[in-house]
Amino acid sequence: MTPMDRRRFFKITAITGTTAALASCGNPENQIVRFIPDEELTPGVAVWKPSVCPLCAAGCGVTARVMDGDAEVFRSGQPGVTRMGLVRKLEGDPEHPLSKGRLCVRGQAAVQVTYHPDRLVAPQRRSGDRGSGQFTEITWDEALSVLVERLDATAAAPAQLAVLSRPRRGRRHELVAEFLRRFGAPAPVSFEIFDDAVLRRANDLSFGRHQLPTFDLARTSYLLNFGADLLGTWNSPLAHSVAYGAMRQGRGGSRPKFVQVEPRMSQTGASADEWLAVRPGTEGALALGLAHVVMKAGLRPADGGGRAGAQIEGWSGGLPAFTPEAVEKETGVSAERIERLAREFASYGPAVAVIGGAPLAQTNGLAQALAVNALNALVGSVGVEGGVSFMPQGPVPAAPARTLREALAAAPPQVLLLDDANPVFAAPAAWKVRDWLRQVPFIASFGSFIDETSALADLILPDHSFLESWVESAPESGAATAVATVAGPAMRPLYDTRSMPDVLLDAGRRLKTPLAPALPWQTFEEMLQAPAAEPAPVAAAPARSTAAAAPTAWRAPELDGSAGEYPFQFMPYPSQALFDGSLAHLPWLQELPDPLTTAMWSSWVELNVRTAETLGIADGDVVEVASAHGSLRAPVVISPGIGPDAAAMPVGQGHETFTRYASGRGANPLAILAPVAEPSTGQLAWAATRVKITRISGADGSLILFAGATRERPDHTRGRG
């Protein structure tokens, strides 16, 4: 190749106007390709562009601070450098009804998704054995032709095409569902370990709304929370936290009370005025016990429970089985305390009860949720200021027809498209997702990273990062008004990636037998700009239908494993930083000290102080945690915030393959869970496994704590020493 001189360079630039190559100073091995920028930015001046945080289902609006800079990019199969607008920081969008200018810890770190060093820069085709993680870079033309070829081959048996994604709402998912429908394939399979299907089902039964609730924390006077990590990871944590700030200070009158009921102190529980340790899975019994006292004391009549009350067996009779004494036996909460809490809850309204997370991940999850719903209804907190309500919505997208469990029970499809789901990591090993996937002849992933599931793919068609593409969210809760957010790309793509909806649309056009009827949009952007269906006018207060359903009885949870052999109830919980493990690749979040243990870059098992003493375990010692379905090893954090017969462990670490920051780090508690389901929804009861714990060795240094001491005034005074 002849070195390009300056004049010729300008000529090419003038002619093509788009891209050109410039040989670096006489060093042919070391060429720097400089792409011509095509956007105007003033150096050093920041521009703010809206976007939507994609990291959890909450769908908070963010603004991205864009400034120009030199980026090493990969475009049209060629690496190079260009000066372009780069997102430097994310902030909450002040105009957004959920985020109100604030942003949570995970949202702050979302920018690292775009700049992750292990992000895929171009389509990949598997070159090694399945699961070996060996891929070769290919062009989009090749990649698309492989995909289309496979889709064409399946056209004869369209039911053999499946899409596996997360249960998120929005137009992207509509598009996928539309594509499948027109292709003739069944509805997408969706999977999320911490999905709230049980609560939606309960709300449907209690209030006729198959939706997550919204809590008016800012105006409530009494918050009674059963196990939901509502300030950390559950539902719409950012919106909850914004409202929580207003609830605590910043309004006149008396300060509201916040009571948290849970077996292991969560970050949310840490902020409570009163913290009640309760036996795991008995939260519903406590709720019913409170309702019993309220009704018995005549503070509220039983029919206040309305439809929600009618869902509970024995409600109209005042729940005779749930006397404080009986509930004390069940839950471990003293009868006097139950009496007191019940009176407080009924007297200092508006009061709101919340349930979410682990209490619902039990075999009795539905009954637990119904109990709390009925309690809310009893004190008249539904649809009122300071109570619980439902966000008005457009027609709620049809619930995915299939859960992953259902799909796993059926024969594997011929072609599987993976979108943002990693069940190999996040589903219990007992589900044998990996074996199932290995039987699928062709898997294509749209992921930006090679994780445990996409490592099994034959083709990877990397999506843009959310900052590089059109994004939208249609949250189901978190604000009193309907919220739908759409934003354009905040920056140009760094690499040869393509927006997943566009790839689907493109593939649809290329099919031998076109989709019928064809999808009406050329691009996802077009779809987003097309007028969306008008939201159906829904009253803020839910309609109370009298549709009768068989009342549900609260029963003690069934746990997997005998109490004799497996003495500890195992409580995995979403990690504040890494959530369900899908964020374990972000270094900022890995190095974030956990709010309660201050651990970074680690896995750990939380054990009660006395339990650890009995087992002869010191902080940092490595133990084996074994269920009937598997075992793992992790260091121990001794905690005063957990009961003596429980063991808690954060989800998030234990990735085999998930970028340099997460691979081979810690242990995955989900892997050893029993495949126990909540019967009404089929949702995994991830808090229903029993384990045994054996000390393996002393500290091996794998537990990295930021804090040096756990108490503010350790006993170091003269008298004690």
Binding site: A707, G708, P714, H716, T717, G721
Partner: protein
């Protein structure tokens, strides 16, 4: 009384300069290798960053500062003791002064390198010096580190002069007794010294003034080193006792170092005729006194903290007394108090091997004392969330070992170029009374007994 050529004194003392054994070269080689390893370790640290050391958040000072204080402490053996003995005109000082003063100079030089080694950006160490370094800003005279610069600078200058001035007449002796290149070198070093009465008088007067001046400087140096700690609000650092406590500790460790150096010289250079049991016995008594003083300071410090019962201080107190650092703490008490008092209090046990053994223990104990002052306090500051711990890394250990080797190496090389015992001062000492003939008798017989 024959004072001239037949007197073996000058011959004995110059002999080491003229004859060198294979052992010497071997030892130099070994020590130089260790020193080079230390230099390489430092280069490695400069290249990769100070993070190769074990310091961390919140223990930002570790081995390097421990060694800094330790070596500055050792430096108190020489000039200070020599100056005091000179002022009180203790006759037995004469063979001791120079070998003591050399320790001061080298220990100070080694000690002063540690604040540079420990810097995050050691290539900018000269910003500590009083000149308008960056943007016309002079150093901050409120910083104890700048006080350190001034104190060490004054003490090093003073000690160096205090050492070198009395060497001039000895250089003249070597000049007159040698030929060729050596004569020219020592001729230059002798600065044209003739030994006129004026010169002798000026020298004696200067030494007298210097002795007076250097004593407060020496006291101030270790006081200021202690200020590095006591000026900061770190639990068990912020204490008014630190000045005298550090000075006493410095003299304590300094005497121990001097005893070890003298014992080594006596053996390797066969100076039995000059370094008498009396010298060791006197120094041992001084060591015992300092051990008792040290014990008194430690007790006062511990008692006030315990009685005061402030939580953050008590955290450090218990960490050292019975926690993480207890084994080091009790080793320190054993080495610095129990052994010295137990052995040196009894005349029968105060033998040369006994004294040397005690001195070695004191060095270990005093090193630990500095470590135990620096690290547990930083590791247990008031906000217990930020408590931490410290473990030294190989780089720090290699550099530390290298400085001990450097001390030995410098000392050996020095004893090869300068008479380690001042010839003229010995002669003066011999003037009125013949020195302790009984001693020499004993020496000849190779016996060592405590003197009555």
């Amino acid at each position: 009384m024959n004072r001239t050529r037949n007197n073996p004194l000058a011959d004995d003392l110059i002999r080491p300069l003229l004859h060198t054994s294979v052992w010497f070269y071997g030892a130099v080689l070994v020590l130089a290798t260790i020193v080079l390893c230390g230099a390489a370790a430092w280069a490695y640290q400069v290249w990769y960053g100070i993070g190769v050391a074990g310091i961390n958040w919140p223990v930002f000072w570790g081995f390097y500062l421990t060694n800094f204080v330790f070596w500055i402490g050792i430096s108190h053996a020489g000039t200070l003791i020599s100056a005091i003995l000179r002022l009180v005109n203790a006759r037995w000082r004469r063979p001791v002064t120079r070998c003591a003063e050399v320790i001061t100079v080298f220990a100070l030089m080694i000690g002063a390198t540690f604040p540079i080694i420990h810097l995050g950006k050691p290539w900018l160490f000269f910003w500590l010096a009083p000149y308008p370094s960056a943007r016309e800003i002079w150093p901050n005279f409120r910083s104890p580190l700048v006080w350190d610069f001034f104190a060490i600078n004054t003490y090093l200058t003073g000690s160096l002069l205090f050492l070198i001035l009395p060497m001039i007449p000895d250089f003249a002796v070597i000049r007159d007794r040698s030929s060729g290149l050596r004569r020219r070198i020592y001729g230059t070093l002798a600065l044209g010294w003739q030994g006129t009465t004026t010169q002798w008088h000026r020298l004696e007067a200067a030494m007298q003034i210097m002795a007076v001046a250097i004593i407060p400087v020496a006291v101030s140096v270790h006081t200021i080193v202690s200020f590095d700690f006591s000026m900061a609000h770190v639990p068990m650092w912020h204490s008014t006792i630190f000045g005298p406590y550090f000075v006493a500790g410095a003299i304590f460790s300094g005497i121990a170092a001097l005893i070890i150096a003298m014992a080594a010289l006596r053996r390797t250079l066969r100076l039995h005729a000059y370094l008498h049991p009396l010298h060791f016995d006197n120094l041992a008594k001084l060591l015992l006194l300092m051990s008792l003083l040290w014990g008194y300071f430690v007790f006062s410090e511990r008692l006030t903290v315990w009685y005061g019962n402030q939580p953050s201080e008590m955290a450090v107190f218990w960490a050292t007394q019975r926690g993480e650092y207890a084994s080091l703490y009790w080793t320190m008490v054993f080495c610095n108090f129990i052994i010295p008092v137990g052995i040196l209090s009894f005349r029968r046990l105060r033998t040369l091997p006994g004294i040397v053994l005690v001195s070695c223990g004191v060095l270990v104990g005093m090193w630990l004392e500095r470590f135990l002052i620096i690290v547990p306090g930083l590791a247990n500051k008031p906000l217990s969330y930020s408590w931490g711990t410290y473990s030294p890394q190989p780089t720090e250990i290699v550099i530390m070992v290298a400085t001990f080797a450097a001390m030995a190496l410098l000392y050996m090389l020095f004893s090869k170029v300068v008479p380690i015992i001042s010839i003229w001062e010995m002669k003066v000492g011999n003037q009125p009374h013949p020195a302790l003939p009984a001693d020499e008798e004993e020496e000849q017989q190779g016996l060592w007994r405590a003197r009555p």
